[in-house]
């Protein structure tokens, strides 16, 4: 993995500390061209991996990338699925069954289609595979060497102790997509233990890592212990604790943990991208 992964929260008005800032971002990135412009600026400063949700607008970005294969030949995308709000709102509106029916590919009378069959026979793993395929459609023919499940799903499976689902996910991503499975979580220590318990060793885990312990369940100490002592491939996110930390002190802190392979961050301007990249290169 590259040392620096460029994220997409800023494009979709995700701001963990300010609803107002997120609205401002949604105005800045109303047009897909504005997203592409920032992506190109990231590429200009030497960032070649874009870690993004399966938000419907990413499909437009993917189309653009496919149309310009030369320009993006070294560009990697790390998809993170699913885009949770899409499903969460659907569950509120349609119920769990309705949501599955809505998102399983195939006709709505799909009892005879693959999806309908999986649903009828309660083949949950098959269902999961179909949902992954549906989410991955937008990335067809693009480089997706690592494929993540979002924290809402990871942490739900984790809490329910349904660890075998991780195992099936891991296998499917490796065999069908020839990619590395990755896990986003707000509960890194617990997740690592659980993955290890079903034989998933040295996993790629993306979690909040910052010195004030923001979104680090169980507290800073246990995270630091795991970062120092355990074998896994950590990606640090929320390193600025949603703006509570100054970039230089935030990234200097990450330097204490040489095991951290990559840092995920998003920015809305070229100067921010440059500044953060410089700090990461200095400290990691």
């Amino acid at each position: 993995m590259d040392k620096i992964l460029f994220g997409d929260n800023q494009f979709f008005a995700v701001n963990h500390v300010s609803d107002e800032k997120s609205r401002a971002q949604s105005i800045q990135f109303k047009e897909d061209a504005a997203i592409i412009k920032i992506l190109d600026q990231a590429i200009d400063v030497g960032i070649n991996t874009f870690m993004c949700t399966t938000h419907e607008r990413i499909a437009n970005i993917c189309n653009y990338i496919r149309l310009n294969p030369k320009k993006y030949q070294n560009f990697n995308i790390y998809p993170c699925m699913p885009y949770a709000h899409k499903y969460a709102n659907a569950v509120t509106e349609l119920g769990i069954m309705g949501t599955i029916k809505n998102y399983i590919p195939g006709s709505i009378f799909g009892t005879f289609a693959k999806g309908g069959f999986a649903l009828m026979s309660k083949d949950f793993i098959k269902l999961m595979e179909l949902l992954i395929d549906a989410e991955m459609k937008m990335f067809k023919d693009l480089n997706t060497p690592v494929i993540f499940i979002q924290n809402v799903i990871v942490d739900m499976i984790l809490g329910l102790k349904m660890y075998d689902i991780f195992k099936s996910y891991d296998q499917y991503i490796r065999t069908k997509y020839n990619a590395e499975p990755g896990y986003i979580t707000m509960n890194m220590p617990l997740l690592l233990d659980s993955l290890n318990s079903v034989g998933i060793m040295n996993p790629i885990i993306c979690s909040s890592i910052n010195k004030i312990g923001f979104r680090m369940s169980g507290g800073v100490e246990i995270y630091e212990k795991y970062l120092s002592e355990k074998q896994f491939r950590p990606i640090a996110m929320q390193v600025l604790a949603s703006g509570a930390l100054h970039p230089s002190e935030a990234i200097e802190y990450l330097g204490k943990f040489p095991n951290i392979e990559s840092v995920l961050f998003g920015a809305s301007t070229k100067s921010h991208i440059q500044e953060t990249k410089m700090l990461i290169n200095k400290h990691l």
Partner: protein, 351 residues
């Protein structure tokens, strides 16, 4: 927040619990309870065989289709009820009658008389009771309450309670949420959160006027609620809630309080304070001060969808273990919110 790593491992829970109702909230609660090292999570109950089969296949908990059977057969300390609202009363009642502590999702009931009976029953048996108004466990709202109690705004003039989101944005979909008889609709769903916050942070609404319940995309229920509320402390203000607002990515709830000395606007992510004069005791300057959730988030051992969801369960579990009813989200408080909802419905019929 120092925590022992071993808390995650090999520790047998101190209390035993089960979840009734495995919709979106129920599954989320089940995961949070499952991850709580103080709890033995032993059983779930739901009417959907699809969901139950998933639990059977992938988890170690027992599955039931009948809640009475589950309560009768399992040796439980508590149940968490997360079914559609109309089922709350019989389920909570049966659990209380069987001596179980109960966490019940919001809204508490569709009829405050039922709620009153449950409040009495829980109190008479000294059972821990809590309703799932999770906003009470968001640090920014707690800070707002503290600042109001510290009187930083001086005499209060006005308040606004708002919630917006994009839940129902199309004319389709039939679930219990689209059925008024079952407590679907924006008033019981979205607005109840705001009313509960107003009640616990600013003052208890005792009068409602000019209420409009508006349907936007739904046929049978309201998608927006607007009302003028008067509180027991004499303050009046506005309620404005709309769950069919496409401009919001997710639910956004805001309380604004205006006083003679300034104004505070608070949501789940930030608290914005404007003061006419500085407040030395609170360290607040004249003019604007903005503080973020990073300063106020309640530390939790497990995170799913927001600290507040775990914090409320940790609070409930802690109350059971210490055998002491907490002051957050009691059945009585939940039932009070139901009474306010009834008052608003009654007023809407006059308009």
């Amino acid at each position: 927040m120092a925590r022992n790593i071993d808390i995650f491992k090999n520790q047998k829970g101190m209390i035993t619990g089960a979840v009734i109702g495995l919709g979106k909230m129920g599954i989320s609660h089940a995961a949070i309870i499952g991850a709580n090292p103080l709890v033995n999570f032993v059983a779930v109950c739901d009417s959907s065989t699809l969901v139950l089969d998933a639990f059977k296949k992938f988890s170690t908990v027992k599955t039931y289709r009948n809640f009475k059977e589950m309560i009768d057969n399992e040796s439980l300390d508590f149940v968490l009820v997360a079914t559609p609202t109309r089922f709350h009363f019989p389920m909570v009642k049966y659990a209380l009658e069987n001596g179980l502590h109960v966490f019940c999702e919001k809204p508490f009931n569709l009829n405050s008389k039922d709620g009153e009976e449950l409040v009495q029953l829980a109190n008479s048996k000294s059972l821990i009771n809590q309703v799932g108004y999770h906003n009470q466990f968001i640090g920014t709202f707690r800070e707002l309450k503290r600042l109001l109690q510290a009187d930083v705004l001086g005499d209060l003039v006005h308040f606004m309670g708002e919630a917006y989101g994009a839940v129902v944005t199309k004319e389709k979909g039939k679930t219990w949420r689209s059925n008024a008889e079952e407590g679907g609709g924006c008033l019981y769903d979205y607005a109840s959160h705001v009313l509960n916050l107003i009640q616990e942070i600013i003052g208890n609404p005792v009068h409602s006027a000019g209420t409009k319940l508006k349907s936007i995309y739904s046929n049978d229920v309201e998608d927006a609620v607007y009302s003028t509320l008067s509180l027991d402390n004499g303050l009046s203000g506005l309620l404005s809630v709309n769950w069919s607002d496409n401009t919001y990515r997710k639910m956004s709830t805001t309380l604004t309080v205006i006083g003679k000395n300034g104004k505070i606007s608070c949501d789940a992510t930030e608290i914005k304070i404007y003061l006419k004069e500085s407040n030395k005791k609170e360290g607040l300057d004249k003019g604007w001060t903005i503080k973020y959730i990073t300063d106020f988030a309640l530390p939790v051992n497990f995170y799913l969808r927001g600290e507040e969801y775990s914090a409320q369960i940790e609070h409930f579990v802690n109350c059971i273990i210490t055998k002491k009813q907490g002051s957050y989200n009691t059945f009585e408080q939940g039932n009070n919110t139901d009474k306010v909802i009834e008052m608003i419905i009654a007023n809407s019929k006059k308009n």
